[in-house]
């Protein structure tokens, strides 16, 4: 019997798990995927928004503002990257100028550092603003992060403090019992597991409504996946933009942005298409065309010939047009972190704090653990001086073996990513944790090396690693291969 079972190991679920792990509670964090952060947390704009945008009186406004003030300290504690790069909101018409003024007034009211700059002032900092840009709202507190890095770090810290991590667990039923819930989950190897928990947290992203429906006869909200497509542009010696460039927001949302990433790439997107299929993370020609066409309104000279990747993410957009963060009205003991679309990443720490301290805290006695283990960040090998690097390599030659030639990732860093708590078990898992394959060759050279290391270190076969069991004929007639 768990005290709390959290469904969904995205940014909300991992924040909640980590925050709960400070207390004397038996907590499990469950996800249907085989790693942390496989949904919207993996595919978003990676921005800590300052909080200038959401409508007054909404949960979005409240948690965005609170969350944006929490991140820097959280990242410092977790040892994850955080860079306050700032942002411009760029207006290009009379109507947009009017909205810009409203946003400025809103930002001022919320005590968010901000000012309006003329075109010529703005061009001094961002020379690639499009010709049509007339004025900008400068938001210097806007920051960029690596969302999945934070989610993984949070999961690590939660696991270090006795949270149970149940990956490859798909919830199939939830039954209300006398003093809690009986949750049925199907595991990756086809087994059924029955999990009992006093409380359940629904942080299941685009599936939050389905999870709710398992526990209640009536679901007062619906989650529509909103697909956002992005381009990733190769690192360049002189980045095109140094801060986030937003267009003036419209009814459709924040619009198509240009975002510098922590690792020096440029992210362009997202589109915003409501779709029905909760699984469809496919990119589309029209979605990507829309991105190209929209970004030209705010930024010029984007080197689309240097695109190294495009991707799509599904934002869980709620029918109530606001976050749903509450104890379910007709299902006591079920806590909701639902419809966490933009600015959900920014809001996540504040949502977690609210759910943990106020909602759960009002139902259960939160006794802090006597001993709490902090996460040790991975070796910052990249940041070492040449002399220090040599010292490392002498002690451990795997740090001299470059596996990823685009991003300069060593075997030592990959081994660390595998053997840490909540270590990588998949090619994508390694990529998320230390970046081999994120560069311009997209894994063409390093993937076989990473696969070899994973097979050796985690005792899996290449077939397992590449999901060849699922829908691939297992054996070739008359042939037996040794794939190790």
């Amino acid at each position: 019997m768990y005290d709390i079972l959290i469904i969904g190991a995205g940014i909300c679920g991992t924040f909640i798990a980590r925050d709960l792990s400070r207390y004397e509670l038996k907590v499990a964090l469950l996800d249907r995927e085989d790693d942390i952060a496989c949904g919207a947390t993996m595919a978003n704009s990676a921005i800590v928004h300052s909080g200038h945008d959401p409508e007054p009186g909404t949960l979005k406004a409240r948690f965005n503002l609170e969350g944006s003030r929490m991140y820097e300290e959280i990242c410092r504690q977790l040892g994850t990257v955080f860079r306050r790069c700032g942002a411009f909101v760029a207006s290009a018409s009379d109507e947009e100028d009017a909205v810009l003024d409203q946003l400025f007034a809103r930002a001022q009211k919320r005590a968010i550092p901000s000012r309006i700059l003329s075109r010529s002032e703005a061009l001094q900092d961002e020379p690639h603003l499009a010709d049509g840009v007339r004025r900008v709202l400068d938001l210097p507190t806007t920051a960029i992060i690596t969302p999945w890095e934070i989610a993984i770090a949070l999961a690590e810290e939660a696991v270090l403090n006795q949270t149970e991590l149940l990956l490859s667990h798909t919830v199939t039923a939830i039954q209300k019992e006398q003093n809690g819930f009986l949750v049925t989950a199907q595991t990756g190897d086809g087994r059924q597991r029955m999990l009992r928990s006093r409380f359940v947290v629904d942080a299941a992203g685009v599936y939050a409504d389905r999870i709710y429906a398992m526990a209640a006869s009536d679901v007062p909200f619906a989650i529509t996946p909103k697909r956002g497509e992005y381009y990733v542009i190769d690192r360049e010696e002189h980045p095109l933009v140094s801060r986030v460039i937003y267009p003036v927001p419209s009814a459709k949302g924040k619009g198509v942005l240009a975002v510098p990433t922590i690792h020096g790439n440029l992210l362009i997107g997202p589109s915003s298409d409501p779709i029905e299929d909760k699984e469809d993370v496919g990119t589309t020609p029209w979605g990507l065309d829309y991105v190209q066409q929209q970004i030209s309104k705010t930024v010029r000279d984007i080197p689309f010939h240097k695109v190294i990747r495009s991707f799509a993410g599904l934002r869980p957009s709620g029918s109530t047009h606001d976050f749903i963060v509450e104890e379910a009205r007709d299902v006591p003991g079920l806590f909701l972190a639902a419809a966490i679309e933009s600015p959900g990443l920014t809001a996540a720490p504040a949502i977690s704090h609210y759910i943990t301290e106020e909602l759960i805290g009002s139902r259960i006695d939160l006794r802090p653990k006597k001993e709490y283990t902090k996460r040790q960040p991975p070796t910052p090998f990249h940041q070492l001086s040449p002399a220090q690097k040599n010292e490392w390599i002498r002690k451990n030659p795997v740090y001299g073996h470059m596996v990823c030639r685009c991003e300069h990732i060593t075997e030592g860093e990959i081994l660390e990513a595998i053997h840490r708590p909540v270590g990588a078990r998949t090619i994508k898992g390694v990529k998320k944790r230390c970046r081999p394959g994120m560069g311009r060759c997209q894994g063409g050279f390093c993937e076989p090396l990473v696969a070899e290391i994973l097979c050796r270190e985690t005792d899996v076969t290449m077939e397992e690693l590449f999901y060849m069991q699922d829908n691939v004929q297992k054996d070739i007639p008359g042939e037996r291969r040794d794939n190790r």
Binding site: G282, V307, I308, P397, R440, E452, M462
Partner: protein, 427 residues
Amino acid sequence: MKKRDLVIIGGGSAGMAAAIAARKKGIQDILILERGSETGGILLQCIHNGFGLHTFGEELSGPSYAERFSDQIRDLGIEVETDALVLHMDSERKIIYTSPRSGFVTLDARCVVLAMGCRERPRGAIGIPGTRPAGIWTAGAAQRYVNLDGFLPGRRVFILGSGDIGLIMARRMTLEGAQVLGVAELMPYSNGLSRNLKQCLEDFHIPLYLSHTVTDIRGHHRVSSITISEVDDNRRPIAGTEKAFDVDTLLLSVGLLPENTLSEEAGIELHPRTRGPVVDQFLQTTVPGVFACGNVLHVHDLVDFVTAEGYMAGESAAHYLTAGLPQRASVPVTAGEGLSYVLPQRIHPDALPDTLTLSCRVLAPQRNVLLAVEKDGKLIKSVRRPVMLPAEMEKITLKKTEIEGVRESLRLRILPQSVCASPDTAK
């Protein structure tokens, strides 16, 4: 800081040939930096035959071809550091590399030969729509899995792009027991050598869909299906022409890109078409003392030509180190009508060799044409070509006497055969 006379970046076919040639010209202090665990480069995974017809007059497998050079490297006592990745090079030829044996090393090279080869264009660079499951590989990555790791990465396979590696992998996967359902090619003609089309597709009854591209990929963890569509003259998919294939694997053979990150860091001028360094007749780049050869310079179809280019770069490097070479090549060599590029891009008119060989590629297939050379705007030579294909590199050799006195430019172009203005000098 350690000083070296000649550092060769890359120990594949180009780099090994350069090292051998330089040693034979008397250069003693040579270091090859190879990122793999042995020399040979991509040849090591090319276990099919067909290598060496020009160089050795026999058909060798890739590893056998490489071995002949690796043996020479060893016999000549040329120093090779393996598992060594060059991280940075600047315009003063300062090189930073790392290896498990030496750690982080900074070197001062008097002369450098770039021989880093090329990489394959990934899916992201061509923007195929759809999801991002496992089971999508470049043909070269799949080749490595099959030939070096003994792992057959798919059972039902479709291939996008009819480049040579794609064609060779169609045959290879078939021989290993996989079913290859087809090859789609965006262009109305194949991008592979004719012999590969015959030996790798036709002989195995694998259909080739010309003027088609992949327009969707489905699958959550692993590819479950792909869709191809016919494309119009502007290479845009035509609605209503979709064909779906249930496959677990999509291989991509959609182009090779010379690996010039280091060259860019060193401030070397790159050519927009070849995407390799701009070089003179000595294969010297725009940074003095830095030479380039093989696929880092321009993508080749035959390793024999890579070897020849490597020899030339090695000899030039030796000249540079012993006697010096002229700087600032002044006469441009340009690609005219019908050609995508010509190499070298510049020549020194005062230091012409006895013969000058120019390499070029056509933009589109041509039949019964003349490959013509203009010197300062005047036609000086043309050779008849019954067929010219983008997939097949063309060469034309000029005698010193033919180009002596050139001032403004040399220009190569394609002419219809009827416009034969000078005596035909077809080889």
